[in-house]
């Protein structure tokens, strides 16, 4: 059971790290701000979510596990909102 959980952790964190990697490549390579924003939010939402998911079995107790989920939820909220704000600022700048 522990080996399975370890495997799950490693797999989830690796996939999360891949999303961060892909997001960073997108941030550096995409042509304009809107597409870069798109790449960045994928890294934040999915990457951090998977890393948090992978860390869940390794948490000391239920409270720390809950904290991990709350951190992810807060990043989801702030990421989505700031993406909206930056997107609007961009659209206004173009007009």
């Amino acid at each position: 059971m522990t080996t399975l959980l370890e495997l799950f952790s490693v797999a989830a964190i690796s996939v999360g790290a891949f999303f961060f990697f892909a997001g960073t490549v997108g941030l550096l390579r995409f042509p304009d701000s809107l597409t870069r924003l798109h790449a960045l939010t994928k890294a934040d939402n999915l990457g951090l979510g998977l890393v948090a998911l992978g860390l869940l079995p390794r948490a000391d107790n239920t409270l720390s596990a809950l904290k991990l989920i709350v951190i992810w939820a807060l990043v989801l909220l702030s990421g989505a909102s700031t993406a909206q704000l930056i997107g609007r600022a961009l659209r206004r700048g173009r007009k």
Partner: protein, 317 residues
């Protein structure tokens, strides 16, 4: 070979790289963004140095609140630049500033390089003092802040109030007593409102938690207060609440509450516990937590007032 030293070197190089970007960026906004990133990286450095309390402060105050402060200041500077282009600093002023900054950095660097080995330290003395009078607190940092160097901690809050007074006094005479101009949006914008409505309750809870847990674990009054301040700023930015009038009684009371309660307790310590800023043994922890509670109030009101800026409306409006 362990991977941590490599990560440390990468982190240190990143900090220096971002610092260079911050001072060489031609665009003011880019420079501020660089400064915020620099603060966040510095928070990681503090974590690697096993100083989570300092890391929390750096992230909340050094990066977060100062970042907002610099962005608003930059916006005001931008408006000023369009109005009066001749008011931009000249070349000689820029060189003078650069030379002064280099001198300060050089003096700091020289002081660190010329430290005797082992460097002189007040840490053992502070630890002894903290475990004496600050007994009952499991977090040694809070014990040192509130018990060993309580006078400094109180003066820090007075500096904050002086800064707010300085910002307020920049306003026009006829605006005195009025409210500062609203932050950012001219009218509510749905995503910002959603962010403020969802984030503020959670943030307030976390802020109070960080203050409360500061007695026994990393955290404390400044970090918690800065978080509460940030939540107030978010609600002001979303236009859910306007900045208060600067002559509001509750605002001024809240701002001086922290240092005032601290000072009164310190004076009472002189009578009840034998020396200035000494706490009566046995009830030291509740007394310290009470002082810290009022300091949280002061920090949570002073920081947003710094960001809100000078009063801009006439009092009769």
């Amino acid at each position: 070979m362990s991977v941590l030293p490599v990560l440390d070197v990468v982190l240190a190089s990143l900090v220096i790289g971002v610092a260079l970007f911050t001072i060489t960026a031609r665009d003011l906004f880019a420079s501020v963004v660089g400064y915020v990133a620099y603060g966040l990286l510095l928070a990681f450095v503090w974590i690697r140095l096993y100083a989570p309390d300092v890391a929390l402060t750096e992230a909340a105050v050094g990066s977060g609140v100062t970042g907002v402060l610099l962005i608003t200041a930059g916006k005001r500077l931008g408006a000023l630049k369009n109005a009066a282009p001749e008011m931009r600093p000249g070349l000689s002023l820029k060189i003078l500033t650069g030379v002064l900054a280099t001198l300060v950095a050089g003096a700091l660097g020289a002081a660190i390089l010329m430290l005797p080995d082992p460097p002189p330290s007040l840490a053992p003395e502070a630890a002894a003092a903290a475990s004496g009078a600050g007994a009952g607190l499991k977090n040694p940092i809070t014990a040192v802040l509130m018990s060993y160097r309580s006078f400094d901690t109180m003066l820090e809050k007075i500096v904050l109030i002086l800064a707010v007074v300085g910002v307020w006094s920049v306003g026009a005479d006829k605006a005195w007593g009025g409210a500062p101009a609203p932050l950012r949006q001219s009218r509510p914008y749905a995503p910002m409102v959603l962010l403020a409505q969802t984030l503020a309750p959670v943030g307030v809870l976390i802020g109070i938690h960080i203050f409360w847990t500061g007695a026994d674990a990393p955290g404390g009054a400044f970090q918690g207060g800065a978080l509460l301040a940030a939540m107030w700023m978010v609600t002001m930015m979303a236009r859910l609440a306007g900045p208060p009038r600067i002559d509001a009684q509750w605002l001024r009371m809240a701002m001086v509450a922290g240092p005032a309660v601290f000072l009164v307790t310190g004076l009472a310590g002189g009578v009840l516990a034998g020396s200035f800023f000494a706490y009566p043994p046995g009830i030291a922890k509740p007394v310290i937590l009470a002082i810290e509670g009022f300091m949280v109030l002061s920090i949570a009101t002073a920081l947003p007032m710094l960001v809100a800026g000078p009063p801009s409306e006439r009092p009769d409006q």
